[in-house]
Amino acid sequence: MSHSSLDPNRDRSRQAFLSRATLITSALLIGGMLLVLVLHALPASNPLYVSSATVALLGKYFTYMLLALAVDLIWGYLGILSLGHGAFFALGGYAMGLYLNAQGASLSGWQGLMASFPLAALAVVLAPGILALSFGWLAFRSRVTGVYFSIITQAMTFALMLAFNRNEMGMGGSTGLTRFSELLGFRLAADGMTVALFVASGSAVLLAFWLCRAIVVSRLGRVAVATRDAEARVRFLGYRVEHVKLSLFVVSAMIAGIAGALYVPQVGIINPSTFAPLFSIEVVVWVALGGRATLFGALLGALVVNYLKTVLTGAMPDAWLFLLGGLFVVVTMALPRGIAGVLAWRGRQEGAT
């Protein structure tokens, strides 16, 4: 029984930043991006050609993956189920929408300020960050946890939806912000812009994935997991649980804000429906399907569900919500650890033989 004897059942790579899962995920993201770029560069007559519309669609999926990552960071690793993360996504989106709206128009006051890209970029992370900071500070110091926290996040996003629906907000009311023309002086409709936004979104996913991975493998990540499983114990060990929660909640909200900012120029509109509680719940379903508490699973879940949604809402639009609900029920009952759980299990089976 030597000191260094390792339990064979224990995956030590879990602790390292560069685990196999990290490398595979990074490779898949980079490889996928390059593949799409190459196929897009083919002549349109080639059967493998990927059109601009598809590139834009994939770019949108990337922003959803980013949002799923944000939700998984706090739900999977910290046990905070936010059913209002769409609000942070939407705030980032509105910040970008205001910037796009101010291009070529001479607006006065604070709307005019948003014409500056650096200021808009700051607003993209600060608006969700400040909301998360104030909301989280109030909730976590009062020790609001579990389902109660989830309910007030729903209330938060619903309240914001009502507010943004009002014309006096200067946010376009129920129509939202749309009819954008330029980003950083380039035409949004140009093919080069579609590709650039696709690459920017993919890179953001990659960077956020590395950031989350670094957090999760740090000691703070382990304190987070410990908080998820036994909060009182963590407190009696001397950690300020509310500070841990607050900091990760703010990081998560900022990632969601960046996702929203990348989403808006690719779909060309942001309106209060993004604040709808249903959207936030859908994000949670992506993460649950992909595999909670695995960053890879969150990315996969967002991609798979949204791809299915694109295909199925085209083929049978009425059936989509039933399918989504059914899928959620089946996965939670049969695969509690999601698709990533199945992959990890199969990987271990193969490794054993």
Partner: protein
């Protein structure tokens, strides 16, 4: 309101005391001052929940390095007492001091934990999704702030400390196993190990041998006896056999206050104790 105003006046008076020594003037090491007596001092503490007096004018003094057993029937207020010491519950009245410098009633749970009061729960509470050495690493004394925790790396001294505690609690071979797959007894020891990593001055241990087998109980008794002397240990326990094994001094709680205090034989022969607790108890006389 009245209560908080009174506390504020008290604080003000405390601040302007002529012999006041401000915390920042004191050396950072060993912040607990036990030169003037006990490590834990509770005086006239009362707390009620919905009219029920869980703790009723409780006085309790624990000396530095002491191993104290606290016994009492269900509902005697043992767990509430621990809640008060660790900052989870605020008493309605009374004083609780850690050493002669720290008024525990003004501090919250993380502050109290960082001062050096460790608590073991009744139900073993370890981080099941982490492995044994990770559990110990999180408990290790150190800077608990978010940013420092994010950047923290386990250094050689920390690793040596973990190895030492693993040896003490006898879980060296299990170090890389997930805490969730440990047996009940092993989880209890791991939790005691986590307390040791905190380097506490005072250990509060709530029913450490509940659900343990006889050999496991033996080992726990050895462990706790070894700890006393280096730190003060307060053990709340139901099992009289176990209490006889480790106790030097026993406090009997009843209806939220101290009924008797002394050696186990002294308290066991106290007629009031016999009446409320040990009276006709086969287990007590049998051991």
């Amino acid at each position: 309101m009245n209560q908080s105003a009174r506390t504020r006046v008290q604080q003000l008076r405390e601040l302007s005391r002529p012999d006041r020594v401000f915390d920042f003037m004191l050396p950072a090491q060993s912040p607990v001052d036990v030169r003037h007596g006990p490590i834990l001092y509770m005086e006239d503490v009362s707390v009620s929940f919905d009219g029920f007096r869980a703790i009723n004018r409780l006085d309790l003094t624990i000396d530095d390095g002491e191993l104290r057993c606290i016994i009492g029937p269900n509902g005697a207020g043992k767990t509430t007492m621990m809640d008060i010491i660790t900052g989870k519950t605020r008493p309605d009245s009374g004083q609780v001091w850690f050493g002669s410098r720290h008024n525990l009633l003004t501090l919250d749970e993380p502050r109290i934990a960082n001062l050096g009061i460790g608590r073991k729960f009744q139900k073993p509470t370890v981080f099941e999704a982490l492995d044994v050495s990770e559990n110990l690493e999180l408990a290790m004394a150190g800077d608990r702030r978010v940013w420092k925790t994010l950047l923290a790396r386990l250094d050689g001294a920390g690793q040596a400390r973990i190895d030492e505690v693993l040896e003490t609690i006898g879980l060296t071979a299990e170090r890389h196993r997930l805490a969730g797959v440990l047996s009940h007894g092993q989880k209890q020891w791991l939790e005691i190990g986590m307390l040791l990593m905190q380097r506490p001055r005072l250990l509060l241990v709530d029913e450490p041998v509940a659900g343990m087998t006889e050999p496991e109980m033996q080992r726990t008794a050895e462990l706790l006896t070894r700890l006393a002397g280096q730190q003060s240990v307060v053990v709340v326990e139901h099992d009289m056999g176990f209490v006889r094994e480790i106790a030097r001094k026993v406090t009997v709680l009843h209806q939220g206050s101290v009924l008797a205090e002394g050696s186990l034989d002294q308290v066991a022969s106290d007629p009031r104790v016999v009446e409320v607790y040990l009276g006709g108890d086969e287990e007590a006389s049998g051991c």
